[in-house]
């Protein structure tokens, strides 16, 4: 399959990482608020370097099971977040995705704009049947993004993730290809 990125939206560019993104990536990856509901973070500068180096190495391979993309805000030419999509069940044409955004750029629709483009690729370019994502039940901003995308809350998992020292509950959201079609109409 051809590479289906970079993707351009009205305000954003979803593209592969560059070594020069390190400063921007560390700005959000080191923020404890940004990763408070995630397994990772907050990153030390070393951890950010290491993660970025891994992205750069993985970008040399194609095809691959997981694609991580930096989200660049076109007007500032700045990396304000990242998205990730992976084939979680090839036989059932199912993919999972995730996203992280710099706190300073929250509440402006950037996550929705970026992930909408990502879902579009999932269904149109690689013809997925089902796409899912999950987040901590307390991460209201995150699950609101999924609801804006038209995803359905399929369930709540009780204390399924041990993060930052405690067992946490999470929501699973998903959307099927035909639901995406009608949501886009």
């Amino acid at each position: 399959m051809e590479r289906w990125f970079p993707i351009r939206t009205a305000r954003l560019l979803l593209r592969e990482f560059r070594a020069s993104d390190e400063f921007d990536v560390h700005e959000y990856a080191s923020d404890p608020i940004v990763s408070q509901f995630d397994e990772w973070g907050p990153n030390t500068p070393e951890k950010t370097s290491e993660r970025l180096a891994r992205h750069l190495r993985e970008q040399e391979r194609w095809p691959r099971q997981e694609v991580d993309l930096a989200v660049e805000l076109l007007s500032e030419q700045k990396i304000i977040g990242s998205t990730s999509v992976w084939m979680s069940d090839e036989k059932n044409r199912t993919a999972g995705f995730g996203y992280t955004f710099n706190q300073r750029y929250w509440n402006q629709g950037f996550a929705t704009e970026a992930t909408r483009a990502l879902l579009n690729s999932c269904f149109q370019s690689f013809e997925m049947h089902r796409v899912w994502a999950s987040c901590d039940v307390r991460n209201i901003g995150s699950w609101r993004v999924m609801e804006k995308l038209g995803m359905r809350r399929e369930g709540m998992f009780l204390r399924d993730k041990f993060q930052k020292g405690v067992w946490r509950d999470s929501y699973l959201y998903a959307i099927l290809a035909d639901e995406w079609q009608s949501a886009c109409r």
């Binding site: 080191s30 404890p32 608020i33 706190q103 307390r138 209201i140 020292g165 067992w167 946490r168």
Partner: protein, 194 residues
Amino acid sequence: MAICVPIIETPRLILRGWRDEDIEPWVAMNSDPRVMEFLGISYSRAEAEAKISEMRAAFARDEDGWWAVEIKEGGRFAGRVALHAVPFKAHFTPATELGWRFVFEEWGKGYATEAAAAVINFAFKVRNYDEVVAITSVLNLRSQRVMQRLGMTCNPADDFDAPNFEEGHRLRPRVLYRLRRPAPEVDSLGKNRA
């Protein structure tokens, strides 16, 4: 009695002491079921009026207390914000609590976030507190969203049961959000987090 209420101005709001003309909108707000949904209390007119006298006295006595929030444009009463000691014993007390309650018609405009952010600034810069907390029902997602916007964090390990609701009451489970005073220094990458 001289009551010194620190007046705080934000781009769109004025946080100030209570005036007699606040009584009517305050009584109306406290009898609005949409505003009171997660508070589990309701005030009669007499109680609401008594509460105003109590709030008026608080700043003089405790240093902290309850501000009336006025919208600069048009001078409407929008609600109240508070900074006070948590009035019960729990695993995280003593602690200073931040709170807000706004007229339903003014929701969705960012006023709670704007007013609370100004109170946080007051708590850290004027009062020199090391930490403020905010408490709400587990069910009150709108309020938790404001807390998250303010940069507050929660940890399920801090969850607790409100002592003023009986076992099994839907409003008994509470979440605690915390915010530490930001360190004034700039970090290694030059990002000023203050």
